[in-house]
Each structure stands twice: as C-alpha cells, then as structure tokens.
Amino acid sequence: MSAFSAIGEEEEIESEDFTPGTEPQPTWCPGCGDFGVLKALKQAMPEVGRSPEETLLVTGIGCSGKLSSYFESYGYHSIHGRSLPVARAAKLANPELEVIAAGGDGDGYGIGGNHFIHTARENHDMTYIVFNNEIFGLTKGQTSPTSPKGHKSKTQPHGSAKSPLRPLSLSLAAGSSYVARTAAVNPNQAKEIITEAIEHDGFAHVDFLTQCPTWNKDAKHYVPYTDVQDSDEYDFDVTDRREAGQMMYEVESKLYEGEVLTGRFYRDDPRPSYSEEKQAIGEMPDQPVAEQYFDEDHQWDRSYDELLDLHK
C-alpha cells in the first residue's frame, strides 16, 4: 500500500473542499482580479478530479503569492521568484502529486524569469499560473516587467522607458507545451483554461490577467475581451508553432492598444514530459523517490558494496 493514500483515492471532490475551514479570509482588495484565479482554480479541481491532499500548490511572494493561504491543499509559500524550482523538484520527488505553481508577473517574469525559461524548457508536468496585473501589487504599485512602455509609477516617475516583456512569446520560445491567456473578468473561460492546463501532460503556462484596481487598472480595462477560439476573426492552428507565435505577437501588442485577446495559443500534446524523458535515459526511478522511504521492501544500496572496489 502506498504511504500516500490521498493520491488516487476514489472520492467525490467538490469545489468547496478547497476553501479553508475557518481561516483565513482573503486579504486582497475589493475588486482585485486575484479572486478570479482562486475561484477558477477551485472550480477546476473537481473537473480534474484531484483532492486537496494530493495537490501541492507552490506560490511566490506578492499579493498573488497569498493564493496558497486561501486555497486548501498542501501548500508551499516560498520566496520571491522561486516557486518554480521548488515546485518542479517536488514533482520529480513524487511524480504522482498534482503540482501547481503560481505567482505574480514580477515574481515569474522578472526576478524568477530565469526559472520560468528553464522550467518551460524542461517541460515538467505541472501547471504555472501567472497573475499578470502589469504591476508590482504588494510593494505598492511599481512598474513591472509587463507594465506598458511609458507607464508611470513612483519608481519610474517619467514613465517606463522599457518595452514590456512578451510573456506568451517567451513561453513558447522557452519550450512550454501549453500556453494560454485568460482573464479574471472571464470566469467561465478561466475555469476551462485552468482545467485544461492541469490536465495537460507537460508544462502548462497560463498568463492570467488580474486587474489591480488599487494601483493599476480596474476590471473595466479588461472588458470587452475576445476569446480567440470563439472569434471568426482569428484563425490559426494552436499546434503549429509558427502560427501560434504570430498570434501571440499580435495578442501581446493588442493588449497595449486596449484590445484584450484571450484563449489557447499553443499546445504540443505529443511532447514527452521531463520525467518521461529522464526515465527514458535511465535517470529517474520507476518508484517515486518519496515512496522509497516508506517501502519496507525497498532495497537500500550501500556505497561499500557498489563503489568501494573502484578505490582499492
């Protein structure tokens, strides 16, 4: 029997299971888009059929990082920018866990940008949700990597001289095998996209537009929005890297012209996940590392038997 019996247990899973019992109430500002992520994620979980105790949610630091406080599951509230390395290693140690990482645009595209690139490149079987409010929320509204050019803040009093980072294009170039954008103002799509992302076997990146009415835009800035899959105006093949790339470029540019385009932009389903790649070359055991310590029959090799002859 597995030492981790929550994993794969047959049970009825409901959205409400992911609401913490008595504490704590979210401290996000009224109207904050972060509520939208929480709601979408809670609704997605019954769809994917994973329970709180087989789920590990790893977050960074920021208003967005508080997600792990308001979502009932195993949680790891890490440090600024480092949710991905923590999360992907947990997945390697126990591939049977459902691993989700989340954080802000500053957290994921700025300070943690290097981890974003490499985690995408490796195609770990996990989900990464970036709360993109185009601002540093928690530290009071400074310019972030996705703030538009010319954006004024206390630390950029003359407006940002930098063009914003293109998160979708970067994600594609880095190697994500599922890339989508959704918005807090579009809860139905958000739930569907989060569900798909979790179900996807590989690194699924969701750029989630979350309005920050306190320091940046309020909800009306993301309305109206267009779901590119529902629109006749956009016709592209999400499995075609070149077409996806072009579409992403357009979507990213349009956001700064006031047009909000959302939807799925790329998916590469046949691509093996990182664990599969590692297993194929004999660098990852069949039995999850985490299981080995609880398996009384596991045979523990010793350096004395395996390696010492090399030194005699």
């Binding site: 949680g75 790891y76 140690a93």
Partner: protein, 631 residues
Amino acid sequence: MTENELIWRIAGGSGDGIDSTSQNFAKALMRAGLHVFTHRHYPSRIRGGHTFVEVRASASNVRSRGDGYNFLLALGDSFARNPSEGSVYGNEELKPLSENLDDLREGGIIVYDEGLIDEEAAAELNLEERAEENGWHLYPMNLREMAREHGREVMRNTAGVGVTAALLDIDVSYFEELIRANMPEDIAETNITILNEAYDAVSEQEFTHDLRVPTGDHENEQALLSGSNAIAYAALDEGCRFISGYPMTPWTDVFTIMSQHLPKFGGVSEQVEDEIAAAALALGASHAGAKAMSGSSGGGFSLMSEPLGLAEMTETPIVLLEAMRAGPSTGMPTKPEQADLEHVLYTSQGDSCRVVFAPSNIRECYDQTRKAFEIAYEYHLPAIVVYDQKLQGELRNVDADFFDREPNPDPGTVLTEDELAEAAHHESGKFERYQHDSEKGVSPRSIPGQKGGRFLASGNEHSPTGHISEDPANRVAQMNRRLQKLDSVRSELDAAEESHQTVHGPEDADYGLLTWGSQQDTVFEAVDRLNEQGHSVKAMGVGDLMPYPVAEVTDFLESVEECLVVEMNATAQFRGLTQKELGRFGPKLSSLLKYNGNPFEPRDIVEGFETSIDGGDLPDETMKYVPAAGD
C-alpha cells in the same frame, strides 16, 4: 631530512595527465603496503599553466602534506603558451622544472624530460650548479622520445613513472595492473611497453642517490579516496536520493560523483540554471519526501542565501555543502582558503538556525556528512558541511571496512498516516505542522500526498497550521521553538560516543593549538614535531561550528596557558567565533593566518608556534601572526 618517506612531485601543464598519473601512482604505492597522501596544486586553466601533485608515501601513517619534497618528476609543459623568454609569463615550457626547485629538499632527486627541456634550457637555470650545491641527483631522460617511439607523446607521464619506479626500486607490476584496469587493451599495452622501456633505460645508468621507496604492509584492505568521495558516499548511505546543483570549483567534484551514481541508486540528479534554483529544488524535493542535498562554492553559495533562510523558516530539512575556495568574489578558484566561515554561519536574513560541520579528513567527511543528514531530517533544519579545495581533492588511504556500515533511509521526524490520524489538527482540518510546544523543539512533519497531513509551509512567520501570522505571542513561541532545536542538537552531539572535536598531543601540555576543518591533521603533525623538539604542545581540531561545542573548547582552553589559533583566512574568523561563543579567553588566543592560496605545511605551524612563544617575525612573509588581545 627524514628519508623514511617519499614525497614525489609530478609537475607539468594542466592537461598533461598529471592528475590521473598521480592517482595511479598513489594507488600503486598503497597496494604496495604504504600509507599515502596527495596534495594537488593547479591553476584555473584547462591547458597549460603550472601544475603539480605531490604523493607522500610512508610505511607509517601519513596525514598531511610534508615540508617540501624529495623527488621531482618534471614533465615539461607541453601546452606552454609562449615558450619565449621575454613573454610576461616567462618560459612556461620550463616551469615544471624551474618553479619547483625552491621546495626540493637537500639530496633530492630530479627527473626531467629532456625532450622538452633541452641542455640549453637546463643551463639557463644553472641546474648543474644548483644540484651540486644542494646535493640533488639529476636524471635527465628523454621521456618524450620514448613515448613517441612506442605510442603517443601524451604517454610521457607513463615513461616518467617507469623511470621513477626504476630509481626507487618499485615493482612495476603494481603500475601494470592499474594501467590494465583503467585503459582499453591496446592503449594499455602501449603504455606498458613504454613503462618497461623507461624502467630499463634508467636501470642501465649508475644511481648516485640512496633514496628507495620505503616498504610497508597493511593489516587491512585499503581504499584510496578523496574528501569528495567520502562526502558523496555518506550521502548515498544516508539515503540521499536527490541532488541539484550548478557547477563551480571545487564543489563540482561531489556533484559529479553523485550525478554519476544516483541513477543506479534509484535517485535523481539535476543540473539546473543557477544556484538559487539548485537550493530551491533541494527544498522542493525534501518537502515532497526525498532526502535531498545541494551545494556550491563561494559565489554559488552566496546565491543560495535566500533559499537557505527559507529552509530555516519552513523547517524543511536539507543538507548543503560549501566547498570553500579563496575569495572574495571569483578570488582564486582553484586555491583553498577558510574564509567563508562567517558567510556559512550567518548568510541569509534573520537569526541563523542551522547546523554547520567542518570535517578535517576523509573519515570525518564521511562521518560528519552522515550526521548532517541525520540531524537535518530529525530536527528539520538545514545542515551544512563546509570543507575546502584542499580536502575535496586530497587522496588518502583508509581501511576499506571503515565504510562497511548500515544505510540509513530513515526520513526523520515524519508522521505516518496512522499517526497523522491521531495528531493535532486545527478545527479547519489542517494539520498542526508547527506546534508551539514540542519535544526538543521539533514539531513532526507530514508529506504531501499523505492523508490528513495538509498544511502550509511558509517563509512568512506562521501559526501552527502554517498560516501567515504576525501575532507577537505566536512569533516568540515559534522563534524560541526553532532555536531550541539548536540546543537539542548540541545536547545530542555532546552525548554522542564520538565527538567531532579531536584532541592530539600530551594531555598535560602547556600550550595549545586550535584549528578547524582541513588544517587539523597538518596541525597534528606539527604538534608531534614540536613535542619531539622539546616543546609541550597539544592541539584541538574543531568540527562543530554551529551549534558551537562550548564545553569541549572551554575545557581545552582552560587546560593550556596560551593557545595559537591556526586557520586559512586573513581576519581570524574562527578565533572571533570562539571568543564570541565563549565570551572569554581573549588574552590567551593568538592567531596564525595563511591566505596566500596554499594550505599550511607542518613547518609553517612549527615556525608560527615558535614566533608566538619567542616573538620576532614569521620567516614566511606571506603569513600573518596576530598576538592575543592585550599582548
């Protein structure tokens, strides 16, 4: 000069095969019944640059490099950049010979490769004259030609070993066996031909020297290992099945060994984008249930600072290695130093709550790394093993059955699902992972996937279930509990059968030497010499840096009149730590400091001790003596 030992120095360029040749040489002598010890000196370059390795061999135990050496095999640098005289770097081709002469003992032997260092070059060095003055015995041999004739030029080192064997009367079959074991058949046979050709060629000459290799016998089967081997094997034996890292000298060695062996031990190794990630991955793996480690050297360890603090705060067990090299910044990448002590003890914001061990030799590398895992997982904190470029690379023979130990796959203070069902839960259903009052300060953990164990691990200060909390009473309770773990660790270490502090020399000695980490055994050799010379000295090597072994060091310092603290850094960091921890003894403690890129030799310590007693200046201007406070 003591001639019951051989100190053989092989010198050449990086890329000349100095390392592998010296390893085989050391192993052959070990198999011949000798105790061996190697010391590596190399520049941060892949090809060329002056490199040497010393192999010290004796019938009795050797625990340190010696003073100087008595046999030089100068291969000549085949990758020399600019063999012209006027170049900034001087004549590099000649360096393996010219740079090594100062340390060669009187009466020593020189074998050099005439194929690269011709008569003219030798004349330039006044070699004949200097040999006469110092009683050196010169054996110029055309190693290059021998190698070329039967194989390829790179096999010069094999020819050099053949010459060495003949001059010292070592049975070549030891080398033949190793060559056969390590090389594909055709290459092995070529090398063996060269080995024997060289042996025979020199045997025809008349020998002017008396030095022969000492003879010995081992009671038990021996194994030749480096500090890196011992650390890696300890990790494997503790059930470590996850390592993440980013290459950096000298930590790369352990990372490489682990990466090569982990897959067949059923584990996972990850080379990642940077050291912040490396440490964070180890945390993630540990949180999910693996026994995990990471590590780095100087700059890379600096990047681990923030994840290290996260491990302290979330109480995620983790073992980190810090392989020190000379700093600050990139410093001298291939040179040893002990200047990262304070860095390792205090890096990351907030009050430190970690365990730090500094092993001094191969056996301690193994024992203390195992202990580091045991403690990290039992007490839920980061345990750091700090060592250095010297210890990671030096090879030494150890009784093979020293490693015949039981593995320890115990994941530490973790509850099973049955235990979780009985454990304290908040009314919301969350497991109370961080309870205020718990035995020894350790609140048992659960692992994701376990039923009934869900909690939040947070780098923010948190309540018993892990939720962010700034309540003053909770804050103080959590801080006190976390720090209480260090007291518990100290009690456990104090009660253990074997202490990480080692004392050497007569118990009633008047003077003390205090050191830490890799310098210990060199200090012990100096202690023996000082006592032979009529001084009354003993030494203590300290392995526990945090929590500090207050009682043991206090006893030691109370028992001596004065104490010289020996360490490889410029600001006497260990002396500072000792005074801070003990709050006294300032007027008793003086310092001997070396930070020129080379580890101490026993004679440095003998001279340093004499200076501390008699006053005056140190003979070596690149070392520093700092008198005791108030002196």
